[in-house]
C-alpha cells in the first residue's frame, strides 16, 4: 500500500513538473485556407516538441492587424508569434519591434526562400519574418471566351491587349463582363491593385524627395485607363468589389478576365467551388512596355514580437511551419496542390508540385517579376510594390482608395480624384515631416 502511494505521488509530481516545464505559445493568425490547414497539422510539431503547447487566435485580417499593432506598440505581450505581411515587416523591424530570425535551425535552408520574398521580409540583410505563403498577382482568364473572341492570350500581355480582349469578351446580355478588377476602397483592396498597375504605367507615389506625384501625367493615364476599362467592361457595382466579390463572380462565369492574387488560382481551378474550373488560363500581369509589370508581391509571414518571453519556443515553431519538411507533411496528408505556395524555390522545382498545380510556373514567374526594392520605373525613396512601407500609408492609402473608388463609381471625375489625392498626400507627408 505504501509503495502504491509512493508511486502515485511520484507520478503526480512528475506530471506536475512536466506541466510546469511545458511552455505555451500564442499564435495570432488569419482565417486563410493555408493557415487553417496548419492548425490541423500541429500534432506533428507537438510530437517533435512535447514541451511546447500551441494556442491559436484567429481573427479577421483588419482586426488582426489592429490587435497586433496595439499589442506590439504597447508591448502588451499577448502574442509570441504573429502573422503579418510584407507591409508591416520593414516598418516594425526598423522600430525594433521584431526579433531577428537567427535560430531557425541548421536544416532550415534559408537560401531556398524565393529571393524576391526574402528581400521583402529582410532589413539590412537580416530576416525578420519567415514567409508562410507568398503571392503575386496575375491575369486569370477564360480560355473558352478568349477563343470565342478570336484572340490568343500571350504569356505576357500588354494593357492594350487586355482592353481589346475585354471589349470583345463583354456580353452583358448574357451576364459576362470582359474584366473584373478590384474597386472596393482600402489600402489593401483597390489601392493594392491600382498601385501595382500604376508601376507599369510609369507612375509612382512619391519622387526621391517624398513629394506626392498624383499631379503627374502617369497617374492620370493609370486612373483614366482603369475607369474607362471598368465602365466599358466591368461588372455592375464594381466600386464595392474586393477579392472575395470578384472571386465569386469569376467562379460563376461572370468574368472574362480577372487580375488578382495568384493564390486565387487554386480557388478558380477547384471544380468543387468553381463552375469554370476547367476553362481557366493564366498569364503575367500586363505591362506598357516600360519595364515594369502591374503585379504585386505579398507574403503572409510569421514573425516574433520583441516583447515575447518565449523567443526560443516561438522560433522553433516558426521554423517548423515554414520549413521544407512542413511542405512535405502537407503533401503527404492533403496532396501537393495544397502546399502553401510562393515561398520556396525547391517547391517549384518539384515535378510532383508542377503536375498538381498547373499555375505553378506562372505564379513563380509573377513573383520573380516583382521587385519590392525597385518597384517603379522612376526612382523612389521607398520599399514596396503595391504599398509604400511607411507607417502613414495605411491611412493615406485608404483615403486615396476612397477617392479612386468614387471616381470608378462616377461620383467624381478622374481629374478631381487625382487633385484631392495630391492634396491629401501632401498634407499627410507635410504632417509626417517628410516634406516642408
Amino acid at each position: 500500500m505504501k509503495l502504491r502511494t509512493l508511486t502515485l505521488g511520484l507520478l503526480s509530481a512528475s506530471t506536475l513538473a512536466f506541466a510546469a516545464h511545458a511552455e505555451s505559445i500564442t499564435i495570432a493568425t488569419v482565417n486563410n485556407g493555408d493557415m487553417v490547414r496548419m492548425q490541423t497539422l500541429t500534432d506533428d510539431f507537438t510530437a517533435k516538441n512535447p514541451d511546447i503547447q500551441l494556442q491559436w487566435v484567429t481573427l479577421e485580417e483588419n482586426v488582426l492587424r489592429e490587435r497586433v499593432t496595439t499589442d506590439i506598440a504597447t508591448k502588451g505581450g499577448q502574442y509570441d508569434v504573429m502573422t503579418i505581411g510584407t507591409y508591416e515587416v520593414p516598418i516594425w523591424a526598423k522600430q525594433s519591434w521584431l526579433l531577428p530570425l537567427d535560430k531557425l535551425g541548421d536544416d532550415y535552408d534559408i537560401k531556398d526562400i524565393i529571393p524576391a520574398i526574402a528581400g521583402g521580409l529582410s532589413v539590412d540583410g537580416t530576416l525578420y519574418a519567415a514567409p508562410f505563403y507568398g503571392e503575386s498577382s496575375f491575369v486569370m482568364y477564360r480560355k473558352d471566351l478568349m477563343e470565342k473572341a478570336g484572340l490568343t492570350m500571350p504569356d505576357a500581355p500588354t494593357w492594350d491587349f487586355i482592353k481589346q480582349a475585354a471589349d470583345k469578351m463583354t456580353d452583358r446580355a448574357n451576364g459576362v463582363n470582359g474584366v473584373c478588377l478590384r474597386g472596393k476602397a482600402g489600402w489593401g483592396e483597390n489601392m493594392a491593385f491600382l498601385t501595382a498597375m500604376s508601376n507599369s504605367f510609369g507612375a509612382r507615389w512619391f519622387d526621391e524627395n517624398w513629394k506626392p506625384q498624383f499631379d503627374q501625367p502617369e497617374w492620370k493615364n493609370t486612373l483614366q485607363f482603369y475607369v474607362d476599362l471598368m465602365k466599358a467592361n466591368g461588372p455592375e457595382g464594381a466600386s464595392s468589389n474586393g477579392f472575395n466579390e470578384n472571386l465569386a463572380l469569376f467562379q460563376q462565369g461572370k468574368c472574362g478576365m480577372w487580375i488578382d492574387a495568384t493564390v486565387a488560382a487554386s480557388f478558380v481551378s477547384d471544380p468543387k467551388n468553381s463552375t469554370v474550373a476547367d476553362k481557366v488560363g493564366y498569364a503575367l500581369a500586363p505591362d506598357n512596355g516600360l519595364g515594369k509589370r502591374g503585379n504585386w508581391l505579398w507574403a503572409w509571414s510569421l514573425a516574433i514580437p520583441a516583447g515575447t518571453q518565449k523567443a526560443d519556443a516561438a522560433q522553433k515553431f516558426v521554423s517548423w511551419a515554414t520549413s521544407k519538411a512542413y511542405a512535405e507533411l502537407v503533401a503527404s496528408k492533403e496532396g501537393w496542390a495544397n502546399v502553401p505556395p510562393g515561398t520556396r524555390s525547391s517547391l517549384y522545382a518539384n515535378p510532383e508540385y508542377q503536375k498538381a498545380a498547373p499555375f505553378a510556373k506562372m505564379t513563380l514567374d509573377s513573383i520573380n517579376a516583382a521587385d519590392p526594392t525597385h518597384p517603379t520605373v522612376k526612382p523612389v525613396p521607398y520599399v514596396g510594390v503595391q504599398f509604400v512601407a511607411i507607417p502613414e500609408f495605411q491611412g493615406l492609402g485608404t483615403t486615396v482608395g476612397q477617392l479612386f473608388s468614387a471616381a470608378l463609381a462616377g461620383q467624381t471625375s478622374v481629374d478631381d480624384a487625382l487633385k484631392q489625392a495630391q492634396e491629401a498626400a501632401t498634407a499627410t507627408m507635410t504632417e509626417g515631416g517628410y516634406i516642408q
Binding site: 482565417n31 490541423t40 487566435v57 481573427l59 485580417e61 504597447t74 499577448q78 502574442y79 477579392f243 472575395n244
Partner: protein
C-alpha cells in the same frame, strides 16, 4: 371612452406588424438559411431554399471548439449583469426616491458616456489592462462590460422605480416598517419585474458586445464574438461557415429571448403608457 377599432383596421395593423417583424428578422433568418448551404450555394446569389447540408457546422466545430467560447460568453454576460445590478440598484433607488439637485444632470452625464466612440479610449484602457494584468482575463472583461452597460442599466431601473408610487412606501413607513422591511417586503416584490427585464436586456447587450470582447482577449477569455470573427477571411469562401458560426453564437440568446419576450417587451416600454 374606448375607441372602436374596425376589423379591417385590425387586419391591416396586424399585417403591417408582421411585415415589419419579418423585415427586421429577415437578416437573421437568412443567416440561418445560409448556414445550411454549401459554400458554392452561398455565393450563388439570393436563394431561400438551401440544400440542407450541415458541412459548415462540422467544419466550424472542427476548426475551433465552440463550447469554450460559449462558456466564456455565459460567464461574461451573466457576471457583468450581476455586477452592474449590484451597483445600479442602489444608484437608481436613490435617484428615484430621494432625487437631489443634480440628479437629472448626473443621469444625462452617465448617458453621455455612451455617445463616445469606444475606439477613442482603446489605448488608455489597453494600457490599464496591461499594467494590471487583466488582458485576456474574464474578470477584467466582466468589469469592462459592466462599466459600458452601467448607464443603460441605471437609466432603465431609474425609469422603472419612478413608476412605483412613493405613497406606498409612505404607507409602509406609517405602519412602522423599518428601512430593511420596506425594501425587502414592499419595494423588491414590486421592482422584481423591472429588475428582471433590465437583467435580460443587459445580458443580451453583453452577449453581443464585439468591440472590447475581441480587443481585450486572446485565448482564455475570448467569448463567442471572437469565435465569429475568426471565420471571416480576406481570401476565400466563407459565407456558409460564417453563417454557421453566427447561428451557433446567437442561438442561445435567441432562445433565451424567445422565452422571456414578455419581460423584455415590458422592459423596453417602461413608462410608455401611463
Amino acid at each position: 371612452m374606448a375607441r372602436a377599432v374596425s376589423t379591417q383596421h385590425k387586419t391591416i395593423a396586424t399585417a403591417a406588424a408582421w411585415i415589419v417583424a419579418l423585415l427586421i428578422f429577415f437578416p437573421i433568418l437568412y443567416t440561418i438559411i445560409t448556414s445550411f448551404k454549401s459554400e458554392q450555394e452561398a455565393i450563388q446569389g439570393f436563394n431561400l431554399f438551401p440544400s440542407g447540408t450541415t458541412e459548415s457546422y462540422t467544419a466550424v466545430e472542427a476548426q475551433s471548439g465552440y463550447f469554450k467560447f460559449f462558456l466564456n460568453s455565459v460567464f461574461l454576460s451573466v457576471g457583468s449583469t450581476i455586477l452592474a445590478l449590484l451597483v445600479a440598484i442602489p444608484a437608481a433607488w436613490s435617484m428615484a426616491f430621494s432625487p437631489g439637485k443634480w440628479t437629472k444632470d448626473i443621469l444625462m452625464w452617465m448617458l453621455s458616456t455612451k455617445m463616445m466612440p469606444a475606439v477613442a479610449v482603446l489605448f488608455p484602457i489597453y494600457l490599464i489592462f496591461r499594467d494590471t494584468g487583466l488582458l485576456d482575463s474574464r474578470i477584467g472583461l466582466m468589469i469592462m462590460l459592466m462599466l459600458i452597460n452601467l448607464p443603460i442599466v441605471v437609466w432603465m431601473l431609474y425609469t422603472y422605480f419612478r413608476e412605483i408610487p412613493g405613497e406606498i412606501l409612505e404607507a409602509a413607513r406609517m405602519d412602522g416598517a423599518s428601512l430593511w422591511n420596506e425594501i425587502v417586503y414592499v419595494l423588491t416584490p414590486m421592482a422584481v419585474p423591472g429588475i428582471a427585464s433590465t437583467m435580460l436586456l443587459n445580458i443580451i447587450l453583453a452577449w453581443n458586445e464585439a468591440f472590447w470582447t475581441i480587443r481585450l482577449t486572446t485565448t482564455e477569455a475570448a467569448p463567442l464574438t471572437a469565435f465569429i470573427s475568426s471565420f471571416s477571411s480576406p481570401q476565400g469562401l466563407f459565407w456558409a461557415k460564417l453563417s454557421a458560426a453566427s447561428t451557433l453564437a446567437i442561438a442561445p440568446i435567441l432562445i433565451m429571448g424567445w422565452f422571456s419576450q414578455k419581460q423584455l417587451v415590458r422592459g423596453l416600454t417602461f413608462g410608455a403608457v401611463k
